[in-house]
Amino acid sequence: MKLHKFKQMGMNIVIDVNSGAIHIVDDIVYDVLDYYKYKDLSEILLNLKDKYTEEQIEEAYNEIKQLEEEGLLYTEDPYKNIILNDNGPSYIKAMCLNIAHDCNLKCKYCFASEGDYKGERKLMSPEVGKRAVDFVIENAGPRKNVEIDLFGGEPLMNFNTVKEIVEYARKREKETGKNIRFTITTNATLLNDEKMEFIDENMGNVVLSIDGRKEVNDKIRIRYDGTGTFDDILPKIKAMVEKRKEGKQYYVRGTFTRENLDFYNDVMMLADEGFKEISIEPVVLEDKHPLSLREEDLDTIFEQYDKLAEEIVNREKQGKGFKFYHFNIDVNGGPCVYKRISGCGAGYEYVAVTPDGDIYPCHQFVGNEEFKLGNVFDGISNDELIKTFKNGHIYNKPKCMECWARFYCSGGCQANNYSFNKDIHIPYELGCKMMKKRVECAIAIKAKLMEE
């Protein structure tokens, strides 16, 4: 597919898939594009004669032709050989450290099986954590930026290890010249002054989990005694965010499920609480799970995204804007094509490490023995699997090659592809549909703000 067109917020938007060019067009061009590649001008005139004058149709036709000649419409894909000829080494430079395979909550949708990843409840020792830091530095090769995400379970259940890892990494950073960026993802229940101070000081990004409205959050994000967490975590999340000075990143992050298909209200509740960086993601669960999103929910979900896009534009204009993670697409920048065609990086640039030091392609594969890549003490033992992930890019995903959004999502989530289709090369279709909707909204927001 070379071109994608859609209507949003009263605009007709056309994306030239391969060049990334974006155009706002009038109704005439929008209609002529239905025929442009299949019929000559005389036939198009005949087809559209009841709607527009000959002169209008000809003008529109000529403008399309001009953009095609300028390489801004119907361009070919010039990138395929870049990736097929890339036989160079890959470098593991990002790591998800599962600091705790344990959690003090039992959220109903947890992919990590309430924190233990279907294994033993376990905390990472400082020794394993430090070795993991060395492993990623050794494997990052020429890459200067190294990322470490402190994840779980709940990483703050093992705060001493967190502190030791960070201290060690700072020392190794100086010795090796790397730039190590830490992120921590926490359910916020264990935040106190000491931890908040430490997080603010040392984390490049802090991801704070809350699902939105109290009634939504407390149905899902619950303690072992069944009680909800909202009243406990909201003040702590606010205090954490207040500490983040200008320029320091945070995300208030939640998940929506079948129980809150009206998640627009959850995003707005968080925005009204003053949060400026918000992410509410669709839950990923097998169809039979009562909380799973299904095909029949899509219309409602799309309406919510539409509404959200419009409100984001409104608030931006009023100077009360906020960032919604999945709409943060910089249409004039963003990652270069080399990144976009190589995918998310799981399994060859990014890996996850368990409390025992075992390495998996990403946090979502943890616990699936088939996908074990090695151990931080003994190194990588399954180079073939690394190659499989490196080659798991869009050019080896036939469905992606037919999709206009391939340079935005870059082939989607390998773990979701695997869990739904038992093959990382076959996209998780429901996810694709929502992704495409979000990309349309993101582009429409930018177009609208540029238009006015």
Binding site: D16, L72, N145, E281, Y338, R340, C344, Q364
Partner: protein, 46 residues
Amino acid sequence: MKHIKTINMGALKNSIAKPGCKECANSCQSACKTSCTVANLECENR
């Protein structure tokens, strides 16, 4: 042009001139842990 307003001049194609340094973040490292988007990452080599 009278009928078309171009708001992006093919930034994707133009980025081919960049070195492809792969210094940028991995998408799951930020807010997303289940629904990867690559296009919302920031370039480290602007």
